[in-house]
Amino acid sequence: MELKDKLVSSFMAFENQIDVDTTVHDIRSEAIKVFEEKGFPTKKEEAWKYTSLNSLLKNDFSVFPKEEVALDFKDIKKYFIHDIDSYKIVFIDGVYSSYLSETTHEGMDICLLSAALHKDKYRQVIENYFNKVAKTDDSLTSLNTAFSREGAYIYIPKNKAVDKPVQIIHFATGNEAALMLQPRNLIVVEENAHIQIIERHQSLTENPVLTNSVTEIFADKRAVVDYYKIQNDEQNASLIDNTYISQERESNASVHTFSFGGNITRNNLNFYQKGERIDSILNGVTILGNKQHVDHYTLVHHAEPNCESHQDYKGIFADKATGVFNGKIIVDKKAQKTNAFQQNNNILIDDKASINTKPQLEIFADDVKCSHGCTIGQLDEDALFYLRTRGIPEKEGRALLMYAFANNVLESVKIPEVKSRINKLIAKKLGVNLGFDL
């Protein structure tokens, strides 16, 4: 059976399995209709011109995991940023693992979406925010909405600065031959509240995994949201990440995406600015080899005056890796004095690697400063020669230059432990040991 048919037909069973209040039920039923009508995106659609899901959809994914699996912390410790204290929300094959997690309800809620959907005290928040910024006409987002049951639920009230970062980690154990996961996260950050979040999807086996994740983030007035996505998955794991961020006046939201692995990774990152003097930051470092494919599809919608957005994506592609960057900036007529910057730099290492990039501006206001730049090139041979004359071997020299290339983005990482972890991942990816943290 085609995956689409399988999903549509299992929807009824899914609905019967969980009893929820009617608002979410309606949203789900509406969403499955959208998915049924649209199906999985194909290359014919402009937004999916360079990424084909066909090879993935051939797998016979199981939609509901059959049994719970326990993991030993020491086996998976390395996937955590374990040298800092943090809140943890951990899922194993889509099921919450209370043993590995560390949640809280003290003065804020860092817990589970399933709990929030069921309990009455969260009803107001769910009604106000659930599925309010996610695109309702997008097929994959709708698919996730239809099957939304589990994920992280974070609610930070006014003036609260969360004392330590939150780690959201999804493990796939390979207990199923092929597994499809659909986590759904809802993050509401009230006025003047601060939060840092680290998200990771990790497969522990060779078995194929497809994750179709949706995250909705609401940043109220003067809220600060700092989000890190670490994507360093196994060769058989694919990820479609849909993140929607709604920002109110004077808020500051930044998303860092580090893509170092996985089969097909698609990042749909959408920022909607709904007030004045908002700052949005989208940064990314992509280092790929093998036959990996990463597609960054970003949107920043400037709707109000005096806002800024900064995008900086660096990509290094080796072997047969392919990269896609599609950055879209829309500046509405009303959004005067917008400053929107977009930068995409790429290095191709091998002949079979390729990159497709489409930085796109749609501007309807006249008093704006908008620019985008995009380059594809190689490492500077002269610089490499210089390093070699100073006794640095070629391999290390190349790695050093690549570090320098990606450094702009690394600099803006605010959690030191995350930065050093990323450095280690880059060093491992490049096969060198530089013996220092940049």
């Binding site: 402009e46 990159i355 489409k358 796109q360 501007i363 908008c370 995009c374």
Partner: protein, 481 residues
């Protein structure tokens, strides 16, 4: 007098189309509509050989199976292809030896346009093959060119006199099935220009064609084919002005350039079709396919100044097939009132050490929409390919839009690609600086716009740069000195 931006905008909107007049020359026009018989009739009318008729019919067949594309960032009422007359030729189409024999009314038209033939002859030494409603009525300097072995004539003449050349090259760069409008053009093209530069010849003068749409309700389907044989050089100019008309007119031209080994073609366009009035009524639809093919060490350079048309849909492209070939694209697109332009280029790098440069300047005013859409493609065998692109947009007024859609696809690790785009308005501090130095606001804007577009204007041949300036003036009257 110092202008405020408001006043400027007002003046821009009310500026009438200066070249909007209608020459009353009796035309021979086909009935409206398009079917196989019309295609045959056009071919017959032009006394074409059988292979040409077949070629047209094949194109028509392809066209009737195609759908009109709608991916471009423009909105318009789709033309009714059955309501257009596909052939119109001035009746008195005898060939003239000297200007005295030419219909005085026609000469008057050219005088109004400021491109009178004798002026052109005297001043610039430009040979003008004037295409007025599809049939070329005057060809000058033909003899001088003939001495060098250069063939420069209308494409219908070329089909008669040099069928082997036309047959060999026609449709090799833009095949009939390339796109909807190219297919349409291939089926019904009425006339156009043909140019052949023999091996090693450097064309001694700028070749030039002026197009005009004259007859009400006739579509203009031009076909241009330029072949530069090995080691030759030619600079080709194309200028367009059309009279004022209320209903939308369709212009679907195809231009094919072929630069063989070591050849160089410089193709410059000034496009000033009727853009419609201040309410967005009328205006020309300009759906053009232009493409050049570069063999080894060849170079093709496109320069365009787009100021007219209600809707422009145009992507002059270069296929860099040969090693070391070079493609260039320089463009200024000005839109005002309700004009819409979706223009740009495609640079397809196939050969080794190929280079391309894209400089695109968009100026939008009024309620217009101006888009840059470009593709830079480096294929896997194109070692050491190099591209530099720069697209700048200038916005005047807060009701217009500027958009960029660059596609960059690299499949070779040695590729070096840079793309840069900016959008801005004329800075108040820039104007203030000029004011403070005693330059009034109008002149200041002129200075800034001039500076903004200079990179492209500089690429135009001398004779054309003057006209381009003039057209910028009309399009942005009051802001360009």
């Amino acid at each position: 007098m110092a202008y405020t931006e408001e006043e400027l905008k007002k003046e821009l909107e009310t500026k009438e189309y200066e070249y909007g007049f209608y020459t009353d020359i009796e035309s021979e026009t086909f009935p409206n509509g398009l079917n196989e018989d019309i295609v045959r009739a056009i071919s017959k009318k032009k006394n074409e050989p059988q292979w040409m008729t077949d070629w047209r019919l094949e194109a028509f067949k392809i066209w009737s199976e195609m759908e009109e594309p709608d991916w471009a960032n423009v909105n318009y009422d789709k033309p009714d292809f059955q309501a257009i007359s596909y052939y119109s030729a001035p009746k008195k189409k005898d060939k003239y030896e000297s200007l005295d024999e030419v219909d005085p009314e026609l000469l008057e038209t050219f005088n109004k346009l400021g491109i009178s033939i004798d002026e052109q002859k005297r001043l610039a030494g430009v040979a003008v093959d004037i295409v007025m409603d599809s049939v070329s009525v005057a060809t000058t300097f033909k003899k001088t060119l003939a001495e060098k072995g250069i063939i420069f004539c209308s494409i219908s003449e070329a089909i008669q006199d040099h069928p082997e050349l036309v047959r060999k090259h026609l449709g090799t760069v833009v095949p009939q099935k390339d796109n909807f409008y190219a297919a349409l053009n291939s089926a019904v093209f009425s006339d156009g220009s043909f140019c052949y530069i023999p091996k090693g010849v450097r064309c001694p003068m700028e070749l030039s064609t002026y197009f005009r749409i004259n007859q009400a309700g006739t579509g203009q389907f031009e076909r241009t084919l330029v072949v530069a044989d090995e080691g030759s050089y030619v600079s080709y100019l194309e200028g367009c002005t059309a009279p004022s008309r209320d209903e939308n007119q369709l212009h679907a031209a195809v231009v094919e350039l072929i630069a063989l080994d070591d050849a160089e073609i410089k193709y410059s366009t000034v496009q000033n079709w009727y853009p419609g009035n201040a309410e967005g009524k009328g205006g020309v639809f300009n759906f053009v396919t232009k493409r050049g093919l570069c063999e080894k060490n060849a170079k093709i350079s496109w320069t365009q100044v787009e100021t007219g048309s209600a809707v422009t849909w145009k992507y002059p492209s270069c296929v860099l097939k040969g090693d070391n070939s070079v493609g260039e694209f320089y463009s200024i697109a000005v839109t005002n009132n309700f004009q819409q332009a979706d223009t740009g280029t495609k640079m397809i790098h196939l050969g080794k050490n190929t280079k391309s440069t894209i400089i695109s300047k968009g100026i939008s005013a009024g309620k217009s929409q101006n888009s840059y859409r470009g593709l830079v493609q480096i294929n896997s065998r194109a070692e050491n390919a190099r591209n530099f692109s720069q697209c700048d947009s200038l916005l005047m007024g807060n009701e217009c839009g500027a958009h960029t859609f660059p596609y960059i696809e690299a499949k070779n690790k040695s590729a070096q690609i840079e793309h840069e785009a900016t959008t801005s308005k004329i800075g108040e501090d820039q104007i203030f600086y000029c004011n403070q130095r005693g330059i009034d606001t109008e002149k200041a804007i002129a200075l800034i716009v001039n500076g903004f577009s200079k990179e492209v204007l500089n690429k135009l041949p001398m004779e054309f740069a003057v006209e381009a300036q003039k057209l910028l003036e009309i399009s942005l009257e009051g802001s360009v000195g």
